[in-house]
Subunit: 112 residues, 6 copies
């Protein structure tokens, strides 16, 4: 049942729905969206931080939560996350604050 | 004469004009805008890359050029810059391409 | 009771609340917002697709759902919708993906 | 319990969580975000209206609700609010309409 | 000759070109765009400040220059303008700084 | 010499510079950016109009000029272009007007 699925499950279910839609360009975009965060000249950790700050300045809660999750997996520390978020806050202004709140709550939840 | 000043000189001259305007909050913001890029838990280099990608996704040429300059000073390599820009491109979409072109041209100019 | 009203009913109720507020310019804007999608040199169907893509690139879920509804009424096919959405995705970048997911789910719901 | 807290309580709780995170630049930004709305050459009331319109054009529901609250406290009339919102609507376009609906509903709720 | 026309003349010439294009909705929008700034429950001066801050947060140089001009005509003082701009800066973040510089330079030019 | 190159030549030269940078994801994005406008369930003409309106609402002059060019090649009429632009104007608001002016001037230039 839809009611019981978690944020991650819903995300996964809808991603599959999108991929099943059969549009080739959308599939290619989704692949590309994974590839740019792969280890390269820049380490994965840095790339996830880049994704996180871009998500905050563009004020996308889903994207912020996703990259925070990946940052957590890459052993980013709280201090590092907060510094990255502070850059996003200064670049994007007070209009990013509601998303900063979501980020900090999500981070605390992951740490507990 | 205004005609002969470089981009950097004009930027400097206008920044001083803003700071001279006597508004305390604007001055504080400008200070904060320097502080968030200072060495901390994250190295300066990473912070400049964060500023660069945020600038690209928000499509701000002046900001892109400024952070590219700082990245260059922090010995970021071309491969690293291009990976950072590729993340900005995928996050922000084709609407960032004109700014990506500015970035790549500016980078080549600095290398020459 | 508010709890039981659907998305469309809530939208309708709030639109009336806005129209009742007695601000003439807001009323004129709402009228204009209907007029631009009327049949003209471009068919209604094309105009709804234009509204849909603009809504996706500006990342407005309400607007996406509204124009998807109108596209459905204009007999736009799933393949056409997906092509339109793929343009929005490439123009607006990965930050539109959460809204693309909403769109695809809404479309499937309407087809069922 | 989280379930029972109001929008304002949640906002307050999360703001404290952000402030407790110990990042100095974020704290400074939050202070600055209060200072710019203080009485000055422009009256508080005008400044809250400026914050309201900026929030509408940037399509931030939380920010819209916050500044509406402050406008209400500053004895802004409904006619004044609607004129301010009409400017935001014309500057920001139909993509602000979902946020305009939130604003009008919130205003009516405060008046009741 | 095009070379010799000022910013205001070019703006005027292009506006006429748009109005001459014969699209009724565009004409109506242009009219509406004038009406929302007319004296009402809020004075013209406040409305121009609202337009100015919205223009800064949306980072539109042309719009910033236009509303600064109108603010100047409404006898807004430099201190008031700077306070309004400081709100736009805090709401919109460092990405508005290039436009803030344009605004301050334009203001100084008008005062001279 | 750089001075003598046209807008299209500069665009072409910079695109090659970007492609030569050797970042695979950027190349893939550029390819994808061409593919989504190819003839499909929706005709090329409609897709170019979708690109045009998305470009206007995202306020990207380069993108607007590019898609106007392609619309012209696809025999879109002036009336059709103006209707598409009127949708972009209403969706994106008065902040798109400077870009609408660029579009109308560019269109007249192509017709002459």
């Amino acid at each position: 049942m839809k009611e019981e699925e978690s944020f991650e499950e819903k995300r996964e279910r809808l991603n599959e729905m999108v991929m099943d839609s059969g549009n080739l360009e959308i599939k290619r975009f989704f692949n590309l969206d994974n590839q740019v965060y792969e280890e390269g000249a820049l380490p994965k950790k840095t790339k996830e931080l880049l994704g996180l700050v871009a998500s905050l300045t563009l004020r996308c809660d889903d994207c912020v939560e996703y990259h925070l999750n990946r940052c957590y997996e890459q052993d980013v520390t709280e201090e590092e996350v907060m510094e990255a978020l502070s850059i996003g806050l200064v670049v994007g202004g007070s209009t990013t604050i509601p998303h900063l709140r979501v980020a900090v709550e999500k981070w605390k939840d992951m740490e507990d």
